[in-house]
Amino acid sequence: MIALLRTYLRPYRRALALVVGLLVVQALATLYLPELNGDIIDNGVAKGDTAYILSTGALMLGISLVVVVASIVAVYWGSKTGMAFGRDVRSAIFRTVESFSRAELERFGTASLITRNTNDVQQVQMVVLMGLNMMIIAPILAVGGVVMALRQDVPLAGILVVILPIMAVIVGTLMYRALPMFQAVQRKIDRVNQVTREALSGIRVIRAFVRTRHEEERFDVANRDLTASTLQVNRLFALMIPLLMLVFNLSTVAILWFGSIRVDSGEMPIGNLIAFLQYVMQILMAVMMAVFMFVMVPRAVVSSGRIQEVLRTEPSIGDPATPATPPPGPGALEFRDVEFRYPGAQDAVLRDISLRIEAGRTTAIVGSTGSGKSTLINLIPRFYDVTEGGLSIDGTDVRELRRDDLWARIGLIPQKAFLFSGTIASNLRFGRADATEDELWEALRIAQADGFVRDLADGLDSPVTQGGANLSGGQRQRLAIARALVKRPEIFVFDDSFSALDFKTDSLLRAALAREIAAATVVIVAQRVGTIMGADRIVVLDGGTIVGSGTHHELMASCETYREIVYSQLSEEEAA
């Protein structure tokens, strides 16, 4: 946590210095008040000097005014600094995540990254904010209180030597025991979330399998578990405040007793005793304040650990130091002896892949589940990097290009069509912000999406909710295709992008694509034989290697795996 604070508070050194300065002023002024109070008693009350009481009272008021002004200015700069800290950390996390490749993203999980950028930052930010108010002033008050108490009477201050360690032990022990409990609570919240999320996403299956009661029980277990853990922490903390209050209160009793002895023997004036009592209260108040703060610290420590984990992750895929100039075209791809394995995996997903994808032609990739089709395609935009061999675009290795240059040439249509909140037009313009409305309609027409978009009340300006949830799967998929078309890249990559379409739309779409983007390089991964039969070349993958390559007819003659795939979907006369 310290490292995180040091890095992200550095730009605000001046503001911090100002806040600390103001807090010191505030603390000193606050400490001076009991002194004046003692003074009133010794020199005013005890002597019955009303004028003295009044003049000292006026001085006290003036000091109070100093305190309030100092603390309001301090709060202003403290809030600003604390919130700016949060803003900067969030920004750093977001930028880091934007630089991540798929591997890092999957390692953390999207949901976790979101939580880290919001809730975790929030936890740390609150501690910074509180710190800028109380955590700074508490030690000043405590130290100042000790100094002032010593000024009142040195031997009596010995009591502090006993009290302060007792308090430290109490707080320390409770904190030490609470930390693992907090972590347990956090895990159990996760579990409740998980069970609920599953119950919502699987609601049809649960009801179809008559498992509602079972799910309720599962939830109940998680719920009980969370309740028990939270209760444990809360009961532990229920002990803290009464215990500290007891120490605090008993200290005042002890001070009065020992103080009385010293007053009686004439070693200490009574006004000093009363002031001393107030200083000790101030010290203990400061300690209590710090303790309240410390309740937040364990969580913040956990949170900053999670933040640092993200910030310290180097994206495994980055831009080269000296990027090559992007080749002008025409969009040919070549895989040379490519091997790919996921980090830490024993077996390679792809092995010995050597493949030229000709510019301007349609290349289809088929294979069974786990054959590595999607992985192969993910290598092209460098969502993953090859672990052996090389992949080049028009003769330049993709790893030598800036990723922006690489991506500019690829139009990706992912398996899961993801749209962004906005309008249909804003989604279509994702790849090219300056596309005209005519160009958008043209893309929609090719993607077989012009019909339904026209039917919408607002046409191109119809709203799209996040992820495209207000559209059907088929509509999303066609918009995703149109989005890539608007971009007009040299290479189109269809990652099983036709699966949500019915056969009719699928075939119309392919026919339109064949006419309209004839000049582009097309790479298609598909499950349906019908979708790929017409490709210029079909590459058959099995177990991560290429087992066949050629046209439909060539493969029907030569490739057993291909024949199996085809026969699984079509009868023999259809396949012929």
Partner: protein, 659 residues
């Protein structure tokens, strides 16, 4: 379920949640809304949820009163100790042997009227020094009182932790139970994230608030009352002066809170906007990159982030000024007490110990008032969350079931739809007067273009939605005459959307049957051709499936759901595009297994494969949500209608292209 959530629950005493309301993994929707719509109603209802704990709450209140009373008496007693000490000190200054009255008279004679008055109000023996026996007795009493105060305060907090956690436990349980009684219609029309957020974030918010506010509120109120009583007892004059600061404090608090509330609302709204953006950009990470949009994503983030910063620092600053302002008011009060108290002591109208006690009380008095102000904030937020939870609890439920008669196994599987009408929206007719008889073992293929509403029929068969008119009969029994569980237990289902829960593969396959033996599970896996795959995993059938498990592909998940249907062994099957995301080669195997599974079972198949369609006894052709044609393959082809076109385009064209 991914990553730790850092949700808002769990923390013991935490300051009121400011800004990010609860988080949870869903970001955006998880914010406690700013302003409740019906504050009083919801607050009352929230209070009523505490009813089962009423007995304990009363005990808590009693304990709180005892604890506060004890700690309230403390300063007064300590003040007594100070007096004993002060008198001792004064007595030392008087020559021994003179009486107190003589000493007073001497002072008067010397013109020191004020000191004389002060002395007159004391009880002392000149020259005796401090009365340590009396002092010890007082201090022992004070120590005991403080010990009691702490003990009761601990007991009170301990019980309260149980009260609030149990209440929240019940609330979570009620909501979860409610979810299982709500119709699918609700889930299909509401954002999952939002519903989830109500179960988790909002309830967490309530949990924290309950824990925080209940004890604080009780203690604060008791403290105000007790301290006020003590102050009045010691000095009505000073008490009135102190009381003057109360309205001042309230005015200042309201003044600031009104303004900070606006900024807090802006902060929450902005947090939502930022969360939404982050969530969206992370979810669509690959697309953002592939389309070169990360610069725009960052720009937009910076914009939202800056707005959040502006709103939040203003909110923090404004709410942060309450504390110093209260401090100032308290200090003014303190000075006034010192001055006026000092004068009164000098005049002998008050003892020094009382002034000292009064100073302590006035300090104690200021704290609960500030506290109450902040509690009000927390309550606002909790009530807003409670409103969202109650809203969910008030949603319409499914019509009550007839009594559940247990799972039906021995059904023949005859399905009959008679004059069935159904519409999702009252004014958009979908299915009108549908008649269909499916004999045991027959197959119905449902075909139609994308978005034709092929799943509607599934919704009706399973009673996920209720039909408006007509009847659906299973083996001659109206499906509304069965409980939903009973009805559903006659169906086996494989949906396109492969749903597996966080648990082992074994548990997932056995989902439909608790009593399945190991052999049966393995047999089902073999039938679905997933046994081999499972055995290649390091943990085999004990492999734990995760929501975003990358170790199991979509196709393999699909196989597992098929195995699950195999094991459930129901007489009627619903296959909803079940094989569309299984890859082609596995599909051969599945097809065979499916064929075997369908033997002797009545099947409804949302079909994409020609062979399935041709072999079906009845084909239902759907378009725009309606069944427009119905019949056998040959009969429909002969009609040369919609089906003919569909068949032609779907299955003929690719063949032509390829050849």
């Amino acid at each position: 379920m991914s990553g730790p959530t850092g949700g808002a629950a769990g923390g013991a005493r935490r300051p009121p949640p400011r800004g990010f309301g609860g988080g949870g993994p869903f970001g955006g929707p998880g914010l406690p809304p700013e302003k409740p719509k019906d504050f009083r109603g919801t607050f009352g209802r929230l209070a009523r949820t505490l009813r089962p704990e009423l007995g304990l709450i009363l005990i808590v209140v009693v304990f709180a009163i005892v604890s506060v009373a004890c700690s309230a008496v403390g300063p007064k007693l300590l003040g007594g100790a100070t007096d004993i000490l002060f008198e001792g000190v004064v007595s030392q200054q008087l020559p021994p042997g003179v009486t107190q009255q003589q000493a007073v008279d001497d002072l008067r004679a010397a013109g020191q009227t004020e000191q004389a008055d002060m002395l007159a109000s004391m009880t002392l023996t000149p020259g005796a020094g401090v009365d340590f026996t009396a002092l010890r007795n007082v201090l022992l009493l004070v120590a005991t009182v403080y010990l009691l105060s702490s003990a009761f305060s601990w007991a009170q907090a301990y019980i309260m932790a149980g009260v609030s956690q149990r209440t929240v436990y019940r609330m979570r349980r009620d909501v979860d139970d409610k979810l299982s009684r709500m119709p699918l219609r609700y889930f299909d029309s509401h954002s999952r994230g939002d519903t989830l957020s109500r179960v988790t974030n909002d309830i967490d918010n309530i949990a924290n608030s309950l824990q925080q506010t209940m004890t604080q509120l009780i203690t604060a109120v008791c403290t105000i009352v007790a301290v006020l009583a003590m102050m009045l007892w010691i000095s009505p004059l000073l008490a009135v002066i102190s009381l003057l600061t109360v309205p001042l404090s309230i005015v200042v608090t309201i003044f600031v809170a009104k303004r900070s509330q606006i900024q807090f609302a802006a902060q929450w709204a902005q947090t939502g906007a930022l969360n939404g953006h982050v969530e969206e950009m992370h979810t669509g990470h690959s697309i953002v990159k592939a389309f070169g949009r990360q610069h725009e994503a960052i720009e937009r983030f910076d914009l939202e982030n800056e707005r959040l910063f502006q709103a939040s620092y203003r909110a923090q600053f404004l709410s942060g000024t309450i504390q110093p302002a209260m401090g100032f008011i308290a200090n003014v009060n303190y000075v006034l007490i010192c001055v006026i108290g000092g004068i009164q002591v000098a005049n002998g109208q008050m003892s020094l110990g009382d002034v000292q006690a009064f100073v302590q009380y006035s300090r104690q008095f200021a704290m609960p008032i500030t506290q109450t102000a902040s509690i009000a904030n927390v309550i606002q937020s909790a009530v807003a969350s409670a409103e969202r939870v109650f809203e969910l609890l008030d949603e319409a439920e499914e019509t009550p079931d007839v009594a559940y008669a247990g799972i039906r196994r021995a059904v023949a599987g005859r399905v009959e739809l008679q004059d069935v009408s159904f519409r999702y929206l009252p004014d958009v007719p979908l299915i009108e007067d549908l008649d269909l008889v499916v004999e045991p073992g027959e197959t119905v293929a449902i075909v139609g273009p994308t978005g034709a509403g092929k799943t509607t029929l599934v919704n009706l068969l399973m009673r996920f939605y209720e039909i408006d008119e007509g009847a659906i009969r299973i083996d001659g029994i109206d499906s509304r005459q069965m409980s939903r569980d009973e009805l559903r237990s006659t169906f086996g289902m494989v949906l396109q959307d492969t749903w597996l829960f966080h648990g082992t593969i074994r548990e997932n396959i056995a989902y439909g049957r608790d009593d399945a033996t190991e052999e049966e599970i393995v047999a089902a896996a073999q039938a679905a051709h997933v046994d081999h795959f499972v055995r290649t995993l390091p943990d085999g059938y004990d492999t734990v499936l995760d929501d975003d498990a990358t170790s199991v592909s979509q196709g393999e998940k699909q196989l597992l759901t098929i195995a699950r249907a195999f094991l459930a062994d129901r007489r009627i099957l619903i296959l909803d595009e079940a094989t569309s995301s299984v890859d082609t080669r596995t599909e051969v195997l599945i097809q065979r297994a499916m064929a075997r599974l369908m033997v002797g079972r009545t099947s409804f198949v949302i079909a994409h494969r020609l062979s399935t369609i041709r072999d079906a006894h009845t084909i239902l052709v759907m378009d725009h949500g309606r069944i427009i044609e119905q019949g056998t393959h040959e009969a429909l082809l002969a009609r040369r209608g919609f089906y003919f076109d569909l068949y032609d385009s779907q299955f003929a064209e690719p063949l032509l292209e390829a050849s």
